[in-house]
Each structure stands twice: as structure tokens, then as C-alpha cells.
């Protein structure tokens, strides 16, 4: 490169005056093009490209506690607008969704609190969110019943994690529920580490009940050909990652195993790459595995997903406008075909 090639794009300073929509603010961020502002603006451009690309299947990886923190309805709305096609989630995120679907709440709390006192009051803490124990207990009781129903219907046949999510969504009636919206819109929700959540302990409760004739079987290995099939059959694949961990790895590995490689990637995280853990690993590292194409549009936004992701969605939906109707390449009814 020549010297002048490095000096093509001067930083344009942000101008914040009067009323500003979210997308106008993002455009100001783009003018700066620097640090987190530049990265968030790039993430918005990439997500817009993903949803406008008629050949692209959009995967959303969900980890961390963004559902109890207030992003539940936002995700359900994205599903209903079909601005995401496939969700890969921790079990815990869907547990918190189900808690609210059954009438429970998460409460605004404080991170500086006497946790021994909370323990004595049967209140659990997620940083500055409080969850009463009865939310989990009522969930356990209700879902253990559902597990029994599902097991009886399936007559001992095992389910993939997305079939399990579908069965739960069928039984939850709350329209703001992610599980319910996914069931109605045929958007698969994979939970590769489903056991590592309250869903696993509910299974223990369900299976230990003496009257139980048939025990629910969920087999996460069944997910592998399904998610690889979705990637393989889609001309292009893009992912948006909130956090990382198992959900991110599941999408990336499916992209590799189906010999596709991701075409778009947005990762929102606060983790660091130096530990070698996946939640902080760079997308360039992902390219080295063949999980993402070298020429893929990608960006990693370092920041709190609870701030970044709603801004990203607000900006892109503003750009798309009210009349935009996405026709997704992937349809959940074709899963496993």
C-alpha cells in the first residue's frame, strides 16, 4: 500500500442537534467510524445486508442473561417479523422466557446487596436483577406436567432440542414469549446445552415422580444433522451473536460441517480473545477454521449487548421501513428435509 492509501477517509465529527432517530445517531457513529461507534455502525450495515439478502439464512446466538434483563419481547418481535430465521440459545435464556410466559417476573434490583439476606428470602440475583425462587418452583411444577404430556405423546421417542422447544412453545400461550413466537412462526430454537439449565433439573423432577410411566427423552445429538442441513441448504448464512459460548460455536461448527462457511458475522461481546475461549475469540480466528469465509462481512462489537443489540435492531428496522416484508429463504417447515 502507498502512504496516501492509508489516508483516504477523514473522521467526520459527530453532530448531535435537535431530535435524532436511532438510525440518525448510528449514521453519526458511522461518520466517526472509530472505536465502538464505528463498529456498531458497521454491525448495523451488516445486519441490514443479511436481512435484505434473499439467499441468506439469519442465525441468532443467544447467551448470557439478556432475556431476564429485558430483551425478551424484542427477540419475540424479531421472530414474528422474520428478521431472524434460526435461534441457537442456552437453555437458561429459554427458561427465563418460560418463567415470564407463566406469569413470573424479573425485578430491578441492585448489585450491591447482602446476598446472604437474599438467600434467606429465597431470592436469586443475576447481577442487578432479582428473581424470586417461586418463579422457578412454579416453572418446575408446570413444566414437569408438560414433560409428562410430551413424553406420553411421543411414546418414548426422543426429541431434538428444537423439537423440545417447539413442544414447549405449543403449550405456552403468552404472545410475548420467544418460545411461543418461534412455535407460531416455525422458527427453530436449538438448545445444544439444554441439560445445563433448569430444564435439566425439571427433567430430574419429572423422571423421579413415581407415577411417571414414560420419561421424556431429549437428544441434543439429533440437532447436528438438522442445523447442518439448514446451513447446507441455504445459499448464504449469517450469524448475530449475543455473548458467545456454546450457541456461537454451534452455529459456526454447522457452517463448517456443511462446507459453507458463514457469509456474514456480527458478534457482540465483552469477553477477551487472550484466554482462547470462544466468547472472546475474534472473527478472524473463525476464518482460520473455515467457519467463516475470508471475504465475509464481519464485525465484533465490544460492549454491553443490552445496549448494543436494541440499537442495532432499532437502526435496521428504521432503515427497512414499515412496508418491508422479508421473505426468508429458510422455512422451518422444511427442517430436516
Amino acid at each position: 500500500m502507498r502512504r496516501r492509501d492509508y489516508l483516504q477517509n477523514p473522521v467526520k465529527h459527530m453532530k448531535i442537534s435537535g431530535k435524532l432517530t436511532v438510525n440518525q445517531l448510528i449514521q453519526q457513529f458511522k461518520n466517526s467510524g472509530s472505536f465502538g461507534a464505528g463498529r456498531l455502525a458497521a454491525a448495523c450495515d451488516i445486519y441490514e445486508k443479511m436481512v435484505r439478502d434473499k439467499d441468506c439464512t439469519v442465525f441468532l446466538a443467544l447467551s448470557g442473561a439478556v432475556i431476564p434483563a429485558g430483551m425478551r419481547t424484542l427477540i419475540a418481535d424479531l421472530i414474528r417479523a422474520r428478521l431472524v430465521d434460526v435461534i441457537v440459545s442456552t437453555g437458561a435464556s429459554m427458561v427465563h422466557d418460560a418463567i415470564e410466559a407463566l406469569g413470573g417476573h424479573h425485578y430491578k434490583g441492585n448489585s450491591v446487596v447482602d446476598d446472604r439476606e437474599l438467600y434467606k428470602y429465597h431470592i436469586f440475583r443475576i447481577y442487578d436483577i432479582f428473581v424470586p425462587e417461586e418463579n422457578f418452583v412454579r416453572l418446575d411444577f408446570k413444566l414437569a406436567e408438560m414433560y409428562g404430556e410430551i413424553a406420553a405423546e411421543k411414546k418414548g421417542e426422543s426429541l431434538s432440542s428444537n423439537e423440545f422447544a417447539l413442544e414447549l412453545g405449543k403449550r405456552l400461550k403468552d404472545p410475548n414469549s420467544i418460545l411461543r413466537a418461534a412455535y407460531e412462526e416455525e422458527v427453530p430454537i436449538f438448545m445444544p446445552a439444554v441439560r445445563d439449565s433448569e430444564f435439566g433439573f425439571i427433567h430430574w423432577l419429572h423422571s423421579s415422580q413415581q407415577k411417571q410411566k414414560t420419561v421424556l427423552q431429549v437428544d441434543a445429538f439429533k440437532d447436528v444433522p438438522l442445523i447442518c442441513g439448514i446451513c447446507g441448504n441455504s445459499p448464504k448464512n449469517g450469524m448475530i451473536v449475543i455473548g458467545g459460548g456454546v450457541p456461537r460455536n454451534t452455529i459456526q461448527s454447522a457452517a463448517l460441517a456443511s462446507k459453507k462457511g458463514l457469509d456474514y458475522g456480527v458478534v457482540i461481546t465483552m469477553d477477551r480473545p487472550e484466554t482462547g475461549g470462544l466468547s472472546g475469540s475474534t472473527l478472524e480466528e473463525t476464518v482460520s477454521w473455515g467457519k467463516m469465509k475470508g471475504e465475509a462481512d464481519h464485525v465484533m462489537v465490544i460492549g454491553d449487548a443490552l445496549i448494543i443489540f436494541p440499537m442495532l435492531v432499532a437502526s435496521v428496522t428504521e432503515r427497512l421501513g414499515n412496508d418491508f416484508k422479508r421473505v426468508p429463504y429458510f422455512s422451518g417447515s422444511k427442517i430436516g428435509a
Partner: protein, 73 residues
């Protein structure tokens, strides 16, 4: 000299208790396993009673609630 205080046999002092309708009602996992109604009063108790390993406020609060209700009558 400190006296040994024997815990009162309430569901809310049992190791199988979980909050169901704090503080007055509990979910008993042992009864659930046995196909019995698992929702019990905090101030009830049965023959399977085992002391809880760590103190919580359930019984104290349930007793307060009981007293409050009695006063309201």
C-alpha cells in the same frame, strides 16, 4: 450457658422445602416424588421432616403473616 434450641417441625424448616407462595406456601419435592399434592403450608409438617441445613426466613415470616391474619379477623 446457651440452650440447645430444637427446631420446630414446620415444612418451612425442612430440607425439602422450596418457596411456592412466599412465605405461606411451600413446594415439597419429596411429596411430589410420592405423587402427593406438593403444595403445603409453611407451618405444616409431616413424618418425612428433616431439618434444613441453612436457615431462611420462611417460618419467621409465615408466623408473622399468620398473626397478621388473625388480627384482621
Amino acid at each position: 450457658m446457651k440452650k440447645n434450641v430444637k427446631p420446630i417441625n414446620y415444612c418451612g424448616n425442612c430440607d425439602s422445602h422450596n418457596a411456592y407462595d412466599y412465605p405461606t406456601r411451600m413446594f415439597c419435592s419429596t411429596r411430589y416424588d410420592q405423587n402427593k399434592d406438593p403444595i403445603v403450608d409453611t407451618l405444616w409438617c409431616c413424618s418425612d421432616w428433616n431439618p434444613v441445613s441453612q436457615e431462611c426466613h420462611c417460618v419467621r415470616e409465615a408466623l408473622k403473616e399468620k398473626e397478621r391474619r388473625l388480627k384482621q379477623r
